[in-house]
Amino acid sequence: MAVGMLAARRGAAWWAGLRPRTRRGLAAWGFALPFLIVFAAFLGGPVLAALGMSFTDLRSTDLRDPLGVNIIGFDNYLRLFGDEVFGQALVNTGVFVLGSVPLTVVSALAVALALNRGVTRLRTFFRVGYYLPVVTSIVAVAVVWRFLLEPDTGLVNSVLRSVGIEGPHWLDDPAFAMPSIIVMTAWRGMGFMMVVFLAGLQAIPRTVYEAAEVDGAGRWQRFRHITLPLLRPTMLFAVVVTTIGQVQFVEEPFVMTRGGPLNQTLSVSMDVYNQFGFGNYGYASAMSYALFVVIVALTVVWFRLLRSAR
């Protein structure tokens, strides 16, 4: 007892003797420590282990002796350049992102503008309606869309048939599978972007618009010269978040097409998933890191393009 109290008192004296700056620093580290430990053990560790794995020829058959593998340097990364399926997956992912990100952002902005200005009645109803796909399970959404796109009995082709058009086999036709998935993704991602844009629109002061109106600016001019520039930080956030999310898209093709037909909807993430499934742990890790580098590069590009003009 006495020893314990003595130690406590000595500790308190030591703490009081520190400079305030040091004391604050130590306290901050103390609060951050639980998170840091959990992060290092469960995220940092595996992330670094995967980086290490990407330089070895580790396969699932090496499980009992995982360190008895060869270190092969950048061989896995070099192999990516000759991998036709990976190349196809890269092209598919590029097409998907180039199609779905602009489509999502433009449609979300249009809806947000309409809800912010035009629609006054039933506004909450529409907001909930557009947001609903975001909170619905992606798997359920994909399954329902698969039914809608069914060639003979699906709603889409039934509607087309009623106006005399014979619709294609959407998900089974190499030319239409990817566009179908892009439209579905934009439809689903729109709600979240809409909420972000609504918040951004409401942050623009009314007085600016009023001043512009007094100066005789029309609707389009106000949109072009006030809304868009002031929405730029919001736009940056929207585009970066959407791009990062959609470069890694996997559930949509996984549920709707399994990457087919003819690998036309195979994404990079799905290819990585397949390679892990095949037991090529080293190679799959290298693929993941290649994708990581692409995402970082894209983010940097977006930041450059949309940085607020100073």
Partner: protein, 423 residues
């Protein structure tokens, strides 16, 4: 999901092992000798993993084993099939394996190659099993398990439509084409024969044709791929002809659509395994029973089908190895196999079990039993899943007219060789 779990497996593997030296030992592993199993009754606790219905029902079957071996206690853990591969892989990496597990036939080579499986001892007689099923346990010349149950593929067809069209079950390839055409043109079916046009598992539908033409996936030793052969090209040509002749749909039927279409007559025939007996009965009801049957594979050079199923394997890290093999021997006794068939519907892997009237008395089942004598499994190589996906892709390219059969065979060979056999 699986990706994340596989990561966990790999990371666990990295951390658990305390081996400090890096680099492979070099040289390929040769055949392994099996240790003998002691005589007498089994003793001690046995931990058994099984998936699906097998996992739910196995403890009932184990009661008789426990009665015969009073000092043994069998603990069965049921595992969902979706998790099975990664759960076993994690157990191997952490050296916390069960004593016995049901292992999917296509995973055998991978687990055996990792050195986790115990070679089959001499108390198991390999001759008692269907040879195609036994082959799934043999990796690099050594058997690492025992076939527990089997399945093979047959032609399901509408007997009433065949009668109307004036055709009988096809004996050869030209007859199969004529059969499908008559089913469509004379009996009014929309599709004469359903074949899988692409996607995962297409190889199971396609490879029987390749085997019938005399093609093989690897040489007999399982060292080299032999995919670019005239027989393979001939089989690809033949497979394609059903799609280009509009006898088979290029759009895969939705879940349930095939069974429904079979009953309403829009799909006149298809190839599938024994589980479809129950599915067709459910869909068609009692009145439909007289309108359909199954037939053996058509012949070209051979009348081969595909054999799959589940194997039982004992792990090197098992705590109760001798009792484990005795339990495996018990599960492969002919009478136990017939009891098991009655309990869960798994077809026996032991040939002599098929003499039992409960199996040979049923004409549908008897056809499956006959076909099992002429059924081949894919080679037991550690990279099979990856090679299978190459076959799936190339067959789809041929079906959709993107590649010629000759180009596809060449691509199959080149890609499979680049992947290697994993040894």
């Amino acid at each position: 999901m699986r990706t994340r779990r596989s990561w966990a497996v790999a990371v666990a593997a990295m951390t658990v092992s305390l081996v400090t030296a890096c680099g492979r030992d070099g040289g390929e592993p040769g055949p392994e000798a099996a240790r003998p199993v002691d005589a007498g009754a089994a003793r001690g606790e046995l931990i058994v993993w099984a998936m699906g219905t097998e996992g739910e029902k196995l403890s009932e079957l184990a009661r008789d084993f426990e009665a015969a071996n009073p000092e043994a206690k069998v603990n069965v853990t049921a595992i969902p099939w979706d998790d099975a591969h990664d759960k076993i892989a994690t157990a191997i990496a952490g050296r916390q394996t069960p004593d016995v597990s049901l292992v999917g036939t296509t995973y055998m080579a991978e687990f055996a190659r990792s050195g986790a499986l115990d070679p089959t001892p001499s108390i198991i007689d390999g001759q008692a099993f269907f040879p195609g099923a036994w082959d799934t346990t043999v990796v690099n010349g050594t058997s690492y398990g025992v076939p527990w149950y089997v399945e093979t593929r047959l032609l399901y067809y509408r007997t009433d439509l065949a009668r109307r069209a004036g055709v009988s079950p096809p004996s050869g390839w030209p007859e199969l084409t004529a059969f499908a055409r008559s089913m469509r043109d004379a009996a009014g079916a929309q599709w004469g024969l359903n074949l899988q046009a692409g996607g995962e598992g297409t190889w199971q539908n396609f490879m029987p044709f390749a085997w019938q033409a005399g093609a093989s996936i690897t040489d007999p030793g399982g060292k080299q791929f032999t995919l670019d052969t005239p027989a393979m090209i001939e089989a690809l040509e033949f497979y394609k002809s059903f799609f280009s002749g509009s006898l088979s749909p290029t759009t895969a039927p939705r879940p349930g659509e095939l069974e429904q279409g079979f009953v309403d007559g829009s799909y006149a025939a298809f190839f599938s395994g024994p589980w479809h007996i129950e599915l067709v009965r459910e869909q068609g009801g009692p009145d439909f029973a007289a309108n359909w049957s199954v037939a053996r594979m058509p012949r070209r050079v051979a009348g081969t089908s595909f054999v799959g199923g589940g194997d039982l394997a004992v792990f090197k890290d098992a705590r109760n190895r001798d009792a484990a093999w005795k339990f495996v021997r018990y599960l492969t006794q002919p009478e136990v196999q017939v009891t098991w068939y009655e309990s869960v519907g798994d077809l026996p892997s032991v040939k002599s079990a098929w003499q039992d009237a409960r199996l040979s008395g049923d004409p549908l089942l008897k056809t499956f039993g006959d076909q099992l004598n002429e059924a081949v499994s894919p080679p037991a190589i550690a990279t099979w899943e990856q090679v299978a996906s190459v076959l799936d892709t190339q067959v789809e390219r041929v079906v959709r007219g993107v590649s010629s059969p000759a180009d596809a065979a060449r691509a199959m060979q080149a890609e499979a060789t680049a992947i290697g056999t994993g040894f």
